[in-house]
């Protein structure tokens, strides 16, 4: 067992090269955007490698990476910081965004549409050529150093009116589109990440294609590359392919018993 270690957020550097397989020109585009101090928007379905890409870029650029997973109760103060009471006195504590700006790191806001609307107020001035972070409660304005980079991600697949990115926000970013890699590349990724043999990895990718066929007629989303890697890892440790697909993929995709049965029938046909 390895021991857990605690790292301060703004000192979190990705030390080992994360495995990332580019699907297009996303790496040079990101580097160019970074060099020109432009913020970046990553679009794409869940589990297709957005977060891995950010880790890879943080490693490549050797900047600290601060990731915030947004949720529907995330407010501007959660990002910027707040006063806390310590022994009869109030002290200011920086939030993750402020920490990233001060440290000149990369701040990655995952699933930004989930956050409350008021968070946009602090993101907008950081995302245009002002590159400043207003900290209202301190009455100050922090200018971001050149090495700071703001990246956000969002999944256009959620077709909810409430969860759409506003034009005023999205038009500030350089957008990079991510999708599931094509079959051959995806098989290679699965193979590489899990140590599974090439033939089984290929079948697994085919199975993913079948679940993606079902998107919209029973499933909300098809299997992501991440789920495939999970299933492949189980298989590599000796779990039978059908059980691995059920545990790591079908059960993760749906609760509907009929759909589960249909997906299981697909996996048992393939393996």
């Amino acid at each position: 067992m390895t021991e857990a270690k605690t790292i301060r957020l703004d000192h979190y550097l990705v030390e080992k090269e994360p495995y990332y397989q580019p699907t297009g020109d996303e790496i040079p585009v990101f580097e160019a955007a970074y060099g020109n101090r432009l913020p970046v928007l990553l679009k794409g379905p869940t589990g297709c490698g957005k977060t891995r890409f950010m880790e890879y870029m943080a490693w490549r650029l050797q900047r600290p990476l601060i990731t915030v997973s947004c949720h529907d109760d995330l407010t501007a103060s959660d990002l910027v910081g707040r006063y806390l009471v310590k022994g009869g006195e109030t002290t200011w504590v920086d939030g993750p965004l402020t920490q990233a700006v001060r440290a000149g790191g990369i701040c990655y806001l995952d699933e930004i549409v989930e956050a409350r609307k008021d968070t946009m107020v602090v993101i907008h001035p950081l995302a245009d050529d002002r590159r400043t972070l207003p900290v209202e409660k301190l009455g100050s304005l922090i200018e971001a150093p050149d090495s700071f980079c703001l990246a956000i991600s969002y999944n256009p697949g959620y077709q909810s009116v409430l969860k759409d990115l506003k034009q005023s926000t999205r038009q500030r970013f350089v957008a990079l589109e991510f999708d599931y890699p094509d079959a051959a590349l995806e098989a290679e990724i699965v193979e590489r990440e899990s140590g599974l043999d090439a033939e089984t990895a290929r079948r697994l990718v085919k199975f993913a294609g079948m679940t993606r066929n079902l998107k919209g007629s029973g499933l909300e989303e098809g299997a992501s590359t991440r789920l495939l890697v999970h299933a492949a890892k189980l298989m590599a440790s000796g779990v039978s392919p059908v059980s691995a697909c059920r545990g790591a993929i079908s059960q993760a995709l749906t609760d509907d018993p009929e759909m589960l049965a249909a997906v299981d029938e697909l996996s048992s046909s393939l393996f």
């Binding site: 407010t75 707040r82 066929n213 079902l214 697909l266 046909s269 393939l270």
Partner: protein, 705 residues
């Protein structure tokens, strides 16, 4: 109760023997020979069946004792229910057939016990099929077992193997076989032409079919090895004879991935005259080239049209984006295609569509369309890449050929295109299946100005309503004294510090937090449009709706308005006034004005249909509010207790699905039956019709806060 005379008298009463020549003495004597609990069981069922049809009940009484001896009670029950369902769907003659043919029913029910039933397995099989295929293939029960490239026709029951699971597997294999035909282009071969030219078309068709199955079999073996293993097991169980040597050699030839269906056809034409036919594989269906050809031709025309229109739309979108107000005569960008080379011959060539040489991201529908076209043709032909001209295609070709309710309807007794709902028969203590035919019809717009006139009439009230509903809107509330929050709560802090000085415990609730209360309600108003609302009730209903819309627009809740009326079970109508996604605009206003009295009130069907709609809306709370003026009632026997019990059932079903039903009525006698339907606290009786517009919005406010 074992006395035959007493039984006979009871039977006479139930079966109304006075008016017929039925002989009840014989069945009574048979029943009297049974134990008391069985007697009671039979008499109960005779009574229930008699509520449907007396002759049916008489036949049941004659055979029930015998049936109970031979079968388990559940089977006897199933037999009676099937007879009644058949009566509902096909009439007395067919139902009597089932009552009389107990032996046949028993044989069939054995079959059902070990077999797989298509209806029961359809959900899973369809999911399996859609997972396999690029085209949305459909499943249906039908003879002969074949596919027309859009629908797979399968036997309704499969009982060729001993275990239900194996029979299910056989279905799966059949489906895979047909899917393989579509997937690997069986019908792309020029089969019809070859058949017309051949002196022995029947033999050629059979040979092509056998050889094609061998080709697809090999592909299935490579693509779906898990399924193929099961296939081999089933072949063992069903004792499928091994392939004759000549055919086994052909199998080796057909297994080459480079062989296409056209190649198979050529080979089939060249086969030796004396080659014996190949025994069919266990999952092999028939090949109907005419049916498939007709279906393909229609689809190819339709898809070509849709594809070209889609390209035209894309072109317009893109050119509009890039050069605003560009010169019309300027050269439009051209589409082309690029095939992505792939060393795997099993797969279709992947094709990218390029616009002026740049790859174009296509919307999902267009991509699906493209893969369907490729399944038929194997490629995207050049003429498909020419965007459609203005008005080149008939819009009927482009839309889904669904007939509008108004067209199908027009007074006839068609069930085509209608939603069928079950109905609870309280005397039978069971549902009547697919009993009510419900159609959605759009309310014809009424005269303009009604909404404005109403708003003027209730001007004072409207202002007040707006104010009250505004106060209910989503708002942020500052919560004080929280353990965690955005800001320090100074009051709390001062107090806490004072406490600390004082020596008492210091509170940790020192923060303020912005709390957002979110209204997440979807409400559907179901408006009674029965004949009895004629006159001022109708007017009051419409006025209520106008005021409600005003209030709800202020509030921002999602809402929909539908009217309902019926004229027998075959003609239940739902009138679309405003759907959840429709904006409250002039059209909706005109439709509200156009709400008029129609026929009767079959509430059960309307509740079932509208709860279905409400289910489709994403909301934390779903409310179904009925505006009504009386009891459920319809022209056929949907009167009194029948209507009330069915409505009660429909409401129970709705509640089970997480919908909150509520009723606002002006029927003064409603207090007698509404508690039974809606529960003691889920209805309001408005005594005066005139007060309805004032009350409805107020009731809604109370209901949702």
């Amino acid at each position: 109760m074992s006395d035959p005379t007493a039984l006979e008298q009871r039977l006479d009463r139930i079966l109304e023997v006075e008016f017929s020549y039925r002989n009840t003495a014989v069945p009574a004597a048979r029943i009297a020979g049974l134990a008391a609990d069985r007697q009671a069981y039979i008499m109960d069922w005779v009574q229930r069946i008699a509520s449907t049809n007396i002759e049916l009940a008489y036949q049941y009484a004659c055979r029930a004792a015998e049936a109970l001896e031979a079968l388990e009670p559940e089977q006897v029950e199933a037999w009676a229910l099937q007879a009644m369902d058949t009566y509902d769907q096909e009439g007395l003659h067919a139902a009597l057939g089932i009552m009389r043919d107990l032996e046949g029913f028993v044989a069939r029910s054995r079959e059902l016990a070990v077999g797989a039933v298509l209806k029961r397995e359809e959900g899973v099989l369809l999911g399996f099929l859609h997972g396999l295929s690029g085209r949305r293939l459909k499943l249906a029960a039908g003879e002969p077992v074949h596919t027309d490239t859009e629908t797979l026709y399968l036997p309704p029951v499969l009982a060729r193997l001993e275990r239900p699971k194996d029979n299910f597997l056989l279905y799966k294999l059949m489906i895979t076989g047909f899917w393989a035909q579509v997937r690997w282009g069986t019908f792309r071969a020029p089969l019809l032409r070859a058949l017309a030219a051949d002196p022995q078309p029947q033999r050629l068709l059979q040979r092509f079919g056998s050889l094609e199955v061998l080709r697809l079999d090999a592909r299935i073996e490579r693509e779906l090895p898990g399924l193929y293993r099961e296939l081999e097991r089933l072949q063992g169980l069903l004792r499928e004879p091994p392939l004759p040597p000549a055919w086994a050699a052909l199998r080796n030839w057909a297994a080459d991935p480079a062989v296409t269906s056209a190649g198979v056809l050529q080979r089939a034409q060249a086969l030796a005259d004396d080659l014996p036919p190949c025994p069919p594989r266990i999952y092999q269906g028939e090949l109907l080239p005419e049916a498939a050809g007709a279906c393909m031709a229609a689809r190819m025309e339709r898809e070509k049209a849709r594809f070209r229109v889609a390209l035209k739309l894309l072109q317009e979108e893109l050119s509009g984006e890039e050069e605003e107000g560009a010169d019309e005569s300027a050269e439009r960008p051209r589409f082309s295609r690029r095939e992505i080379p792939d060393d795997d011959p099993e797969r279709e060539m992947e094709v990218e569509i390029l616009l002026d040489g740049r790859p174009l991201p296509l919307p999902l529908e267009v991509r699906n369309l493209m893969s369907s076209i490729q399944l038929d043709l194997g490629e995207i032909p050049d003429e498909y890449l020419e965007p459609a001209g203005e008005g080149e295609y008939d819009p009927a070709l482009l839309g889904d050929e669904e007939e509008g309710a108004d067209d199908v309807w027009s007074g006839s007794y068609h069930e085509q295109g209608a939603f069928l709902y079950q109905e609870w028969d309280f005397r039978r203590q069971h549902y009547r299946k697919a009993w009510c035919a419900v159609r959605e019809i759009t309310v014809p717009p009424g005269p303009g100005g009604f909404v404005e006139a109403t708003l003027e009439k209730y001007a004072g009230l409207t202002r007040q309503l707006r104010k009250t509903f505004e106060a209910m809107r989503d708002e942020n509330r500052l919560l004080k004294r929280q353990t965690d929050g955005e800001d320090v709560d100074l009051d709390a802090l001062v107090e806490a510090l004072a406490d600390a000085r004082d020596g008492s415990e210091m509170s940790d609730r020192l923060f303020t937090r912005m709390h957002r209360t979110e209204r997440n309600i979807a409400v559907l108003f179901m408006v009674d449009m029965s004949g009895s609302t004629r006159g001022w009730i109708n007017e009051a209903e419409r006025e209520s709706l106008v005021l409600l819309c005003e209030a709800l627009e202020t509030l921002g809740d999602r809402y929909a308005i539908y009217g309902f009326s019926s004229y027998t079970r075959k003609r239940c109508e739902i009138y679309h006034v405003k759907g959840f996604d429709d904006p409250y605009d002039e059209t909706v206003k005109r439709r509200i004005a156009g709400i008029g009295p129609k026929d009767y009130t079959r509430m059960g069907a309307a509740i079932r249909h509208l709860s279905g709609l409400l289910q489709g809306v994403e909301a934390r709370t779903r409310v179904l509010i009925t505006l009504s003026d009386g009891k459920p009632d319809d022209y056929d026997n949907y009167r009194g207790e029948f209507g009330i019990e069915d409505t009660r059932r429909a409401l129970i079903e709705a509640r089970r699905d997480g919908i909150h039903p509520y009723c606002i009525t002006i029927d003064e006698q409603a207090r007698d039956y509404l508690p039974h339907l809606y529960g003691p606290a889920a209805f309001t009786v408005v005594d005066q019709v005139r007060a309805l517009p004032l009350k409805v919005s107020d009731i809604y406010r109370r209901l949702t806060t």
